[in-house]
């Protein structure tokens, strides 16, 4: 049920490659997020879908029809901009009505639809106000109303919540998700905030330097990252760097600088020599050094160097004689450790992932 298909999209500007062979399909009724840090190309991709820029090569299809050669007004997409882009010389209702009036709909119909759109966001009483007199949250809702009133098939949102304060942002996140579910509309959402992406999305496309690294549900991104970047970017990770030292099928032995060895599962193509093993901190079990080490587990010994109390979770930093400190999370109620205590840390080889830094 793919609604939008992005096929082999490339975009280069003055010799610099912004987007590199992007292939993506978004399903109807899906809340899809493009996640990445600034400069990764996610906003550019969104603009290509909207028709505000042209791709260097490739195609964009909606409902199996090519739309990349159409100007914005002929595409069934509408965009909500990062700084809302409300026209300052028009009232809220005139802003919302703008797209409808361009299509030369009868004025009575325009007014009715616009008022309904504003009403949907509880802004009926603000219809006659100019944008500068509205709060950030209100402006943002007018921007969404302005886009939605034109009944697009796909709503494109470019980091719409980044200018709001934390409380407002959380409130709008809930509102947007509820709105999307209620309308059954396809949303494509651009953000650099991975928590936001995880909360809102059905699926996430992680982007890095113009490439699409992985497209998956939030759960799959977390439990099964496919590239070095995705593993580093999504969620917290403890990283251990060492040298590859033999393999058995999927599992490799890694020799750490402190002399100890661990087993890890290969997740990407590896080159001979150095590699980095990733473990999720909550998957690391911390035991007093006197406890017996469980079999079939990676075991390292070390000393607790810092304890961070985080409410329901406590983070322990353990110095294992390596360059990087090992971070382990545990439930605060289970925490009986003291600073300087000698401990054993154990983690399962299946949860220890090997990525090569350069591979995708």
């Amino acid at each position: 049920m793919a609604l939008l298909e992005i096929v082999d999209i490339d975009k280069a500007v003055e010799g610099q490659i912004i987007l590199n062979k992007i292939n993506l399909s978004v399903n109807e009724g899906e809340f899809f997020s493009l996640l990445g840090s600034s400069g990764c190309g996610k906003t550019t991709l969104l603009r290509l879908i909207a028709g505000l820029d042209k791709p260097s090569s490739g195609e964009i299809r909606l409902d199996n029809k090519r739309i990349d050669n159409l100007p914005p007004q002929h595409r069934p997409t509408k965009m909500v901009f990062q700084k809302y882009a409300l026209f300052p010389h028009m009232t809220a209702i005139d802003n919302v009505a703008f797209g409808l009036r361009l299509r030369k709909l009868p004025e009575a119909q325009v007014r009715e639809k616009s008022m309904n759109a504003l009403d949907m966001f509880g802004l009926k009483n603000f219809a006659g106000r100019k944008p500068e007199t509205l709060s950030g949250g209100q402006q943002q809702r007018v921007a969404v109303a302005r886009a939605l009133v034109n009944e697009p098939r796909v709503l494109l949102l470019d980091e719409p919540l980044s200018a709001l304060d934390q409380k407002m942002r959380e409130h709008m996140q809930t509102e947007l998700r509820a709105l999307q579910k209620r309308l059954g509309l396809t949303f494509i959402y651009v953000t650099h905030d991975q928590e936001e992406a995880m909360i809102l999305s059905d699926r996430i496309g992680v982007m890095n330097s113009g490439r699409l690294e992985q497209v998956a549900t939030p759960r799959d991104l977390y439990d099964d990252p496919k590239t070095f970047f995705v593993a580093s970017f999504v969620g917290q990770m403890t990283k251990l760097s060492g040298q590859l030292d033999g393999a058995q099928g999927e599992y490799f032995r890694v020799a750490l600088p402190n002399g100890e060895k661990i087993q890890a599962r290969k997740k990407s193509e590896l080159k001979a020599g150095g590699a980095i093993a990733f473990v999720r901190p909550e998957k690391i079990l911390v035991l007093p050094s006197s406890s017996p080490a469980p079999a079939d587990q990676n075991v390292l010994s070390g000393q607790i160097s810092q304890i961070h109390f985080r409410g329901d979770q406590t983070e322990l930093e353990i110095d294992c004689g390596l360059k990087q400190k090992v971070s382990a999370y545990m439930m605060s109620s289970d925490d009986n450790f003291k600073n300087g205590q000698n401990v054993k840390i154990c983690f399962c080889p299946t949860e220890t992932w090997l990525f090569d830094e350069g591979a995708t």
């Binding site: 505000l52 914005p72 509408k78 901009f81 990062q82 886009a147």
Partner: protein, 267 residues
């Protein structure tokens, strides 16, 4: 950051203050003399006698009318042409863009007298008879660059995503221009118009070269009279001209848009 700045301005030595006061005196004493001279009384006549004489002088009234007509037409032309140029320069890439920018710069830097005689020669060679229309054409030419500067500085702080939003909602480039860009530029357009009007109203040298018989503007008439001699009537005329520009300036300073543009110019 502004608050920090306020405290950290070292007080200048006193002689700097003296210089500043001296300069203000040097600038304003002549102007005060003009105004005072206009009220010079001769036996039997009232204080406003000279002002009445000016208002009753038909040639002066005709010159005033010419100044206003020229000012209005030239400002209109310059604003329209300059606004188009400014928008094109700031928004687009087109053939001839560097040429336009260079010519605009040349028009600002060229000494008035060179420009005046060049135009005079050009009109002569083209066999165009000199009159109000040639004056208007000349005034438009030197005003355009100021309009480009004024509107250009406003465009520099214009939010580019407004255009994107309008296009996304279905507007063609032409519609974006008329429904979004120009309404938002409104105050700057007005400021450009006023600036052009002031420049045109006060211009002497260029008008002197390219005007014809009977199309004298007020500054040209003033000059002719000054060559003959200084009289209180001239002072009265000058005072009224100054009052007119002062009123125009005051009115436009009230509008926040103009103030912002002028401050931008200073910086």
């Amino acid at each position: 950051m502004k608050k920090k700045d306020e405290r950290r301005r070292p007080r200048p030595p006193n002689f700097v203050r003296f210089v500043l006061v001296g300069i203000l005196l040097a600038l304003y004493i002549p102007l005060i003399c003009v105004v005072v001279g206009a009220f010079r009384q001769t036996e039997g006549m009232g204080a406003f006698n000279w002002f009445k004489e000016v208002l009753q002088d038909e040639t002066l009234l005709e010159a005033l009318w010419n100044s206003i007509v020229v000012g209005f037409c030239a400002s209109l032309g310059a604003t329209v042409l300059g606004a188009g140029a400014a928008i094109a320069i700031h928004r687009g890439r087109f053939w001839g863009r560097p040429l336009l920018e260079i010519l605009s710069y040349v028009s600002l830097v060229l000494p008035e007298i060179v420009f005046a005689l060049a135009l005079l020669s050009w009109f002569f060679v083209l066999n165009v008879s000199l009159g109000l229309s040639t004056v208007i054409m000349a005034h438009i030419t030197f005003s355009i660059s100021y309009v480009i500067l004024t509107i250009g500085s406003r465009l520099a702080s214009f939010d580019p995503s407004l255009d994107d939003a309008a296009r996304d909602l279905g507007a063609s480039e032409w519609q974006v221009l008329w429904k979004i860009t120009i309404p938002i530029l409104g105050p700057s357009l007005l400021a450009s118009f006023l600036l052009s009007f002031l420049l045109s109203f006060d211009d002497f040298l260029i008008t002197f070269f390219v005007n014809g018989v009977g199309s004298d503007t007020l500054p040209v008439k003033l000059y002719a009279f000054m060559k003959i001699g200084i009289t209180p009537k001239l002072n009265a005329l000058a005072t009224m001209m100054w009052a007119l520009t002062a009123v125009l300036l005051f009115v436009s300073f009230r509008s926040p848009a103009f103030k912002g543009t002028l401050k931008g110019d200073v910086e």
